[in-house]
Point group: C2
Chain length 344, copies 2
Amino acid sequence: MPVAPVVAAYRGEAVERTPVWFMRQAGRCLPEYRALRERYSFAEVVQAPDLAAEVTLQPVRRLGVDAAILFSDIVTPVQAVVDGIRIRPDRGPVVDHPFRSKDDLARLRPLDPEADLPYVLETVRLVRGALPPEVALIGFAGAPFTVASYLVEGGKSSDYRHTKALMYRDPDVWDDLVDRLAGIALAALRAQVAAGAQAVQLFDSWVGALSQADYRRFVLPSSRRVLAGLADLRVPRVHFGVGAGHLLEAMAEAGADVVGVDWRVPLDEARRRLGPTVAVQGNLDPTAVGAPPDVLEARVNEVLAANGGQPGHVFNLGWGVLPDTDPGALRRVVDLVHAHRPPA
Amino acid sequence: MPVAPVVAAYRGEAVERTPVWFMRQAGRCLPEYRALRERYSFAEVVQAPDLAAEVTLQPVRRLGVDAAILFSDIVTPVQAVVDGIRIRPDRGPVVDHPFRSKDDLARLRPLDPEADLPYVLETVRLVRGALPPEVALIGFAGAPFTVASYLVEGGKSSDYRHTKALMYRDPDVWDDLVDRLAGIALAALRAQVAAGAQAVQLFDSWVGALSQADYRRFVLPSSRRVLAGLADLRVPRVHFGVGAGHLLEAMAEAGADVVGVDWRVPLDEARRRLGPTVAVQGNLDPTAVGAPPDVLEARVNEVLAANGGQPGHVFNLGWGVLPDTDPGALRRVVDLVHAHRPPA
């Protein structure tokens, strides 16, 4: 199978046109997705391979993006291991009995992907079989810190007070917790690659809440374990967190081939800080997709100009598609990115 | 009146010991505050000078901090001008009819502090009269962007989609909106200084949601108008936003004498980027106050070490005191900071 442009760009190879996909592209902004969600819950879609595959493929058809990303949630693997984790509409993951002490560690047995997540792997196989070779399928998992934050807080947090309290009060329990979560993420990602994913993204969505010193002490080792554990598979490893501009270098050091950048850090600065061996992904402000067409076009061109035509750039938003986004505007972004040619 | 240590440190002068106060120090973590709030709403406290003064003074008595900060809300001045803005417990400011178009601008008449906010100015006078000369009284206001975000979103937001949409869609209306809000903030701050505040903090709490390019285009001019408009009063002007580490230089350029830094950016980096003429305030992670005593002490010392004994540092948290914080731990922070002597 020829190398898909997204994969080539992730590897830093020259590509004819900049590839593009969108975080949370299979989501609430697509009417065909909303129609399907009127009949099935989030959990029902994730656990039914034909539905999950359909939802994964919808944005490829409608938007013309260069990659599909597995429709799933960052807590899907840990949900298969721990009882009492649910995805609530507009609240995200909630955990009935938050993890707060050493005794809770026993609730985290290792993940056996073929037994625990057969529906995810079947979804990967269905999607890969349905996609043309030039469209990559990206697998993903939540990074240990971010998954731990849901387990410890009991859901989404604004300050991560319980998570940080556990780090500061009982670093041994914390280290054990994120090590177990690293094992789960690694097993999930290896199985997704074996089933057909050609790149993986490790989402550390909320890690920007930490200082770089805390990141290095409490997060980097477990994230590195996940990323290093994928090295032999030779698929590009993307690593991303929102509001994590102060951590870009450290996230690359954790073993990322590609660092996702949110809109707060211009790509020229990100590239300067990351050096020539790390590719970048990003970074249009998701709110700019709702701007008037001339403003949107200018913003897309600013992102491309900030990258300056260097190889190793995959266009994306700096965070997920907003629910009220017009799919037509997303399609225009794809067309603008594809029509762009770097200055000779 | 002798110069209070906080004011001297804000000016970059050498002080015997590092001064310290806490954002949101007059708040839910103090039992005497909670007792008072069982009898009076937030709005009732703000509008009753004897109560507001009492609540402003409580942390000075209990914690031994070097500054009192006026008990108020960042929307208090605009509340006096616009109907239908309320402070809801655990939700913050909510606006009944959000500002979305040119027609809404007429709702923002200029502020006449003596007529519109007599209770705030009386509070300032009462507090200043009750404080010993070595404890500074800090006035404050919300910066135009952050106040605009409440008016446009209708409350606290996670993505500022309506605020950014207004910027992108109708920059003239946006500019007019923040210019009017700059006038309101400036009038409020000038009146607070006339009534006895010896320093002011302009809170741009949520501005970290913007890229530096958007900050410079859509925010800096109105913030500069506020800060420049205070120059003749010769009081230190502190400027702060949370998660705004990528904007530190631009916020200094807006006219701050002192830039508040959250815990994500170490003070040595902040000082390197801001240069020798700008003082800094910060930046202990608020969650660290709940850590075991040895960890807390180490964290306090790390902040002090990162500043490296340079003049022009006022110790603070990197964001507000968390509601479940033990006041005894805050008192220990004050004592640790005061006991610290920079290496000779």
